[in-house]
Amino acid sequence: MLQKNKFVNNITYADAILSATKIMLKKNKDVFVFGQGVDDPKGHYGTTLNLHKDFGEDRCFDTPICEESMTGVGIGAAIAGMSPILVHQRMDFLMLAMNQIVNMASKIHYISDGKLCVPIVVRACIGRSWGQGAQHSQSLLSTFAHIPGLKVIAPTTPHDVKGTLITAIEDRNPVIFIEHRMLYKNKGLVPKGYYKVGFGKSRTLSKGCDITLVGISFTVIDCINAKKLLQEKSIKAEVIDLLSIQPLDMSKIVSSVKKTKKLVIVENDWINCGVSSEIISRLIETYNVKFEVKRIGYLFTPCPTTSALEESFYPSPEKIAKVSYEMVTKKKNWKPRKIKTKEIEEFKGPF
């Protein structure tokens, strides 16, 4: 385990992103950061704060509001040997850049049979709660995982967000780098210097023998909270942070499920044709494991704005705990207490 010392800081997820970016801007002159508002006084939740001052306006710059072409600009620069990092304020805005991501970035290496490559990092932030509504809350992870040629990563901890971002920037492929607004303020121990967290590996956050909980991005927090609830019923949950969506790491899930025989996957997204269904299918098709499984995710509706309905829309520690309890005990006699998710409760906007 990491300990706080002169090489290790206790910093926020946002600062971890900023730190990774600074290290890479220093290390490699081909790296640059661009996107709407990256050089503004808020610096995308602090993740790009003052980079334009520290590294010059050529290496961190604002753009017009035109996601399709700015993605194309990034791809073109990447083809030319640069390492662009393109920042989007919301995942939803990527829908305007799907042509560049799906039809172009993911295919250029293949079409050129390896002669060109597209080392672009597309950072996208998932919005949630406090009235984000239908158009500022989407996640769409599986949409990207569906496309060959892309890598998709969704780190949850400050440690992993820094390490995977460095890996993403050094990776020579287009990487969809998925952040979550509600994680930016979370703190954790993070080495100060350069280090990489590899793609294609999920992370077991805590051990348990009764049931396996797999979370993705923010739902990892939900799983951790659900584990606490389940402890009250003496149920020991193992929590896995999926972390890498594409490539997908089945090994930790397989060995955990072999042990627990029970699996709950908590999507940070709609379930239909999601990553959870891919995990289940691989377990069934390829691995000789007998297990019970439930998927939890966004309700299959657009996200409502009013807080009165938001709660029903999202997975929660209680929902996860309840489903898990019923799978483990085969009983329906427990209603978990409502646990406060501090990230959600403390958020007061405005954006």
């Binding site: 509001i65 009235g131 009165a308």
Partner: protein, 316 residues
């Protein structure tokens, strides 16, 4: 279309109502009762008021965006339901599913707005295509920021509206900002009208803040559209007083200077309208009552029932 005279009293009423509404939002926002981003129109009221007074209420179709409080009020949207919507209540315009960023009221043909920059513009054009196909004698009014013109879809939509000769008025509210990004950081050429003209659309540029001037030019534009059935583009310079989102002044952020003259423009215009309104006292009373009624209504209303979340995902 009858030629209307500018009605100072109505203008004062609407302008003041918008301003008071925004101020009320500011007043109560910290209490966290409106749990949702708000994009205030403070400073930009004269556009909504001038355009709305010139338009044909309940006949023209209005498209706006996430910054729509002013448009909504000026065009006469249901005020109580708007407030209830901001509060996330079941009596709101959309039972709370929409919130501030997606206001809509079909009673005045105010189409539920989008929070994706530029994404309603092509829909506004499509609506005007439908009006033409159905031979309905009305028009679409499409508000958008100058930032939305960064998006290619603006130029695609503009071209299509001209190509098909569609009855639509584009109203560009040029506050020179997209969040904290100055227009000059995003556009090489700032002469927006010149660009629009080169695509074959008639343009009118209004540089001052006069509600009357905006009203008159809008009326001219709408008449032109009625007459020759072709789009017109209106660019109106304006000023955003507070932060892009939320309720605070944002000068401390340092990205723009507080320009006292610009800050006063809207208030001066309001004062001017007031000077030309005899019974402004009554009007102010009326507005106060409307706001407190709406607040009470909204406070008393229930939140939508849980099961409401699953309704209206698809139409049966």
């Amino acid at each position: 279309m009858k030629i209307k005279k500018f009605d100072y009293e109505k203008a004062y009423y609407l302008f003041k109502k918008i301003r008071c509404t925004e101020e009320k939002i500011i007043e109560i926002y910290e209490s966290n009762i409106i749990k949702s981003p708000v994009h205030l129109s403070l400073g930009q009221e004269s556009i909504a008021v001038g355009v709305a007074l010139a338009s044909e209420k309940k006949k023209d179709i209005v498209f706006s965006n996430y910054r729509s409080h002013a448009h909504f009020i000026a065009h006469g949207g249901n005020f109580k339901k708007m407030w209830a919507e901001l509060f996330g209540k079941e009596t709101g315009l959309s039972s709370g599913k929409a919130g501030s960023m997606h206001l809509g009221d079909l009673g005045i043909n105010f189409i539920f707005t989008s929070a994706i920059v530029g994404s309603a513009i092509s829909q506004a054009v499509g609506y005007s295509l439908a009006l033409k196909m159905k031979k309905l004698n009305s028009k679409v009014i499409c508000y958008h920021g100058e930032g939305a013109m960064d998006q290619g879809t603006f130029w695609e939509s503009l071209n299509f509206s001209a190509l098909k000769k569609l009855p639509i008025l584009f109203v560009c509210e040029n506050n020179g900002l997209a969040i904290y990004s100055d227009q000059r950081k995003r556009m090489k050429t700032l002469d927006i009208c010149k660009k629009v003209k080169s695509f074959g659309v008639h343009t009118i540029k209004i540089k001052d803040n006069s509600t009357k001037n905006i009203f008159q030019n809008t009326q001219k534009a709408l008449q032109r559209i009625k007459k020759n059935g072709q789009p017109v583009f209106l660019e109106i310079s304006t000023y955003r007083e507070v932060d892009h989102v939320g309720i605070n002044y944002d000068f401390a952020l340092g990205y723009r200077k507080k320009e006292k003259q610009k800050m006063m423009k809207s208030l001066n215009e309001l004062k001017f309208l007031k000077q030309n309104t005899k019974n402004f006292k009554q009007i102010e009373k009326k507005i106060n009552k409307e706001i407190s009624d709406a607040l009470n209504y909204s406070l008393k209303s229930n939140f939508p029932h849980k099961k409401c979340i699953g309704s209206n995902v698809t139409k049966e």
